[in-house]
């Protein structure tokens, strides 16, 4: 089981990549924990999580080929 991770803005700067794959990550909380352990600056950064283009506000179980996006505050316009 493999998920794709997309990052943007400041989050992409911190993890130093705009997309990568992760194997065997059960849910979004696990994914966040994993990345925050590896990139401690993420803990101090505000970001939302979208799964398959929908923002999720609670822990969500991931499936094979899920696309998880980490979205810092928007600043378009």
């Amino acid at each position: 089981m493999k998920v794709s991770v997309l990052t943007f803005g400041e989050v992409a700067d911190i993890v130093n990549a705009s997309s990568f794959d992760l194997k065997d990550v059960e849910d979004t909380d696990t994914l966040k924990q994993l990345l925050e352990d590896k990139f401690p600056r993420l803990k101090e950064t505000r970001y939302a999580v979208a799964v398959d283009k929908k923002i999720v506000n609670q822990n969500v179980t991931l499936e094979d080929a899920s696309i998880v996006a980490l979205l810092p505050p928007f600043s378009g316009g």
Binding site: L6, F8, G9, E10, A50, K53, A69, L71, P72, P73, F74, S75, G76, G77
Partner: protein
Amino acid sequence: MPDKKPKDIFIEGPVNPQFISDSIAQHSTKTSIGAHSIFLGQVRNDVINGNEVTAIDYTAYREMCLEKMQAIREEIFAKYPLTCMHIHHSLGKVKAGEISLFVFTSSAHRKAAIDSCEEVVERIKAELPVWGKEIFDDSSYQWKKNNIN
């Protein structure tokens, strides 16, 4: 899921004033229109800690933006009696003084055009996953923060 492929809203680089007038001129055949409302976002050369913003470099989560914009479009058309609505947002570098957002609504009477234009601008700023990187004159940068009302 809508059957129709969502309309693209992104253009590479700034919105050209000529593009705006062409867009206005194309509405002269729609003679049921009585009012157009247009919002343009222009890049400001803010000075932050002594450094001047020379440009904003925009990136977006394109697929999510287009899906979200399609939903906003449907909600706005359901709420207001509009004849048409056009949205264009820049990606990539837009220099200070150049235009990065063009929202254009048209209706028979002014209230629908004016109110929907403002609502769409607010929703774009609050709901579309787009990020602006403010580039300073010394080549440093910071991620822009929107002022959401």
